[in-house]
Symmetry: C2
Subunit: 488 residues, 2 copies
């Protein structure tokens, strides 16, 4: 009785259209259209695919499609396929049984990279052909065992390739089983917070610092102490005074985000000593360690860690591309089991073929070649932007000396960065507001712009800078609908 | 001063070998080998790739490799490349500066699927060629904007394809922006727990139930009430009595995991009514809704949800393959913002190309075709296993009637399932122990085996069953090293 009773179908709940398979199919598709699940203008599956999907005959689908076409819901466009009509012939009375939920504005993937966008590498120069060849190769080569499952901490081949890469180019010595593969840096933060933090745990966070990591950690329930940075990077003495019992320190030692200085050697040693005494974890965010200006990149803080206090976080977002969403942690043995358990149950590593393709990208030298090419390209693009800014010589814009990485910092004089960023956005530009990286402005508000140059071709730098000048000092009357009132 | 001071290199810390780039490189590679970062037998990068990686000349690498070869660390094998020597010529005295950490036993990806493995679909029959063609296509077609970033909640194309699929085949009507893409079911649990649960929140969990989800939720800090299941599925009245203030109900309505019954219609309605009154979320785990035995699959519980209480969780692990690690949630508007924020900051969706390939796999009808073929194949494989078990007619094994899905359940008479599973594992088999799915055995311990048949070719069923019989009733003396003493 229970088996039969449970085999209800939505059609049974609407007696109006019950009875035949065709009527049920008609009803489901119609409701999907009315509810927006099948959007206006969307292509519906071919009759053949729909027949397979719905488990009915081709003729049943044809009949349902025909009825929906007659009623104006679908329109056939020959070889192009069958589409949901635009606009739909819907009266309010024909609203679906499900609660009519208002469509929302959805953040959609940007189709194009806008000038000055922060944190975006030269995606126009990424070797897409090589990468897609490797990815296709590993998807094709997958054996049954590879499809059946994979290590939630990451595939051995990639972990080995990363360990070898870090040993050679970042001075970090780690075994492959100390490397864990994550869903980019944010996936790594989710994993770390779940495995090692209890709600309310204290943490040092650089101020200014990477705002999205700050938001992520607050969302995960950590109490963040805003620890100032100066010319030597994170002020360890201030941190120790502000939050002596913190369990975590989040730090960008190679290239401070957003200001760009490196953490000095005395500070590195002081930080390691403090963490040892406080029994705290240091999370080293080495987000763009490959792109320091120096001829040989600075070794990672982790290379000085002989007490197993540093968890090194790396990402391929900058060195390859952000949408790859592939990152990794190098984990001291003391944190390894907790992290592995969370990875296995709540934060598994991504598709095996992606990991193996990345392993080959590293192991076959494509990675090193790409990074070397990007260093040269970024030097060129940085130069072009710096020259264009110099030509502009705006009294309101004070460009700081570059220290590599993917963006320049320029202080704003007599303007609020939030307002400039908003006007720039209307002009198609995407600089970052320095103040948004600041947690505690009591010692002086930071007003400035982060100007990403890595994805900005040198030939377009001048034009982008001229448009930026309009956003900084708009001619009177250009934006009359906003007026001079301050806003965020 | 600080910049210069910070630019230390690991070589500087070991004066013994400081001085030349070649000596530094030699030292780094040697230490990587000694520490296991470059494993014995591993191929090292070509001299050309290593030169790029380390930012030194080709000649420098050749010299370092030559020295390491002379010392027995590396061995050149012509065109095949250069490898770390096996075994290594290491005395205890040459241990690295880094703390010598003992190598650990690492769970490695299984190379082969073992008979009876639970939760593994027919990975031998997955259309790898089609899938890899789609994946390669989308990796190749990626434009700069696609590489620069993607929606952390999931790509629009896949969300639309899933919404259309669910409307047609599961009776679930949802807008694309209510669909969120996750790292499989476990990634979905991580996302849900972080977004909606506070530590200590109560939740109903089926008993017996999917043990890895139970472990995941306990790890995330939920207090789980073990709610019994009977022939009609989850016992809603017992749940209401056991944990009246629970904030979550985790349930497998289409095909209970592990026992296989469907949640009856009266229970579905009672559960929805209770959740409404208690202001609780129902998490519907529809892990294998495509593979119910019935000619038309049972609609999802979500299709009855007119109050926005049900969060539907789907996965492609069973309908495509587990290592894909791709799942999704259908989210009522009341939970959407919290989940989107956590996805953005702590649980981002995977690589865009994977999502777009999956969208095409659905949209071009490959998914429906594959599922239809698998239904037929699973009927065949189920039949072969059931016949082989019948032939065996072991008095200790009482096979329950199958209800579709990917495994059979057989009760064990006069044997402990944990012991049988351990002996079976030594014989190369991988049945599941029913008792491991049970949280609370006070009303009677469940002893039984879960026998996955989806990945077991019909031609191998008899042989596998005969080997299983040995594990159930081992001939005396077969495993003399263990003796008759009870163990887990």
């Amino acid at each position: 009785m229970t088996r039969r009773g449970a085999r209800l179908s939505p059609a049974r709940r609407r007696p109006r259209s019950a009875g035949t398979l065709q009527a049920q199919l008609y009803d489901r598709i119609r409701q999907a259209i009315l509810s927006g699940a099948l959007a206006s203008g969307a292509r519906v599956p071919s009759a053949r695919a729909m027949a397979l999907e719905a488990g009915v005959s081709r003729g049943t689908v044809d009949a349902a499609y025909a009825r929906l076409s007659v009623e104006g819901f679908l329109v056939a466009r020959g070889a192009a396929g069958t589409f949901v009509t635009t606009p739909l012939p819907i009266a309010a009375a024909s609203a679906p049984a499900a609660p009519p939920e208002p469509p929302r504005k959805e953040p959609r993937a940007r189709a194009e990279v806008r000038p000055f966008q922060v944190g975006v590498p030269a995606v126009d120069a990424f070797p897409v052909a090589t990468w897609s060849r490797l990815l296709g190769r590993h998807a094709r080569r997958a054996r049954a065992g590879d499809l059946a499952g994979s290590d939630p901490c990451g595939d051995r081949a990639l972990r080995e390739a990363i360990a070898a890469h870090l040993a050679v180019s970042r001075g970090v010595v780690a075994r492959a089983d100390q490397v864990m593969i994550t869903g980019g840096y944010h996936g790594a933060l989710g994993l770390l917070a779940r495995a090692l933090a209890r709600p309310g745990d204290g943490a040092w966070f650089e101020d200014p610092g990477y705002h999205r990591a700050r938001a992520a950690l607050e969302l995960a329930g950590l109490r963040l102490a805003a620890v100032p940075v100066d010319a030597e990077g994170l002020d360890v003495a201030r941190g120790a005074a502000l939050a002596p019992r913190a369990r975590f320190v989040f730090v960008t030692p190679s290239h401070q985000m957003p200001l760009g200085m490196a953490l000095s050697l005395p500070r590195r040693l002081a930080l390691l000593a403090w963490a040892r005494g406080a029994d705290a974890w240091i999370i080293e965010d080495d987000y763009d360690g490959e792109f320091q200006r120096a001829s040989a990149p600075l070794p990672a803080l982790k290379s000085l860690d002989d007490q197993g206090r540093v968890i090194y976080a790396g990402t391929f977002s900058k060195s390859m591309f952000p949408a790859l969403r592939l990152g990794f942690l190098v984990v001291p043995d003391g944190a390894r089991d907790a992290l592995a358990r969370v990875a296995s149950l709540l934060h598994p590593a991504p598709l095996l073929a992606v990991q193996r393709a990345a392993a080959d990208f590293l192991g076959e030298g494509h990675f090193a070649r790409h990074v070397r090419r990007m260093r040269a390209l970024y030097a060129e693009r940085h130069g072009a932007l710096a020259r264009a800014l110099e030509e502009l010589s705006s009294p309101q814009l004070q460009v700081e000396e570059g220290t590599g990485g993917l963006h320049l910092v320029a202080r704003l004089i007599g303007a609020r960065d939030g307002e400039v960023v908003e006007r720039a956005s209307q002009l198609g530009l995407a600089p970052g507001a320095l103040s948004s990286y600041q947690a505690d402005p009591t010692e002086g508000r930071l007003d400035g712009l982060l100007l990403g140059f890595a994805a900005l071709p040198a030939s377009r730098a001048r034009k982008a800078v001229h448009r930026l000048a309009q956003a900084i000092a708009p001619p009177p009357g250009l934006t009359p609908w906003r007026g001079p009132s301050p806003s965020t």
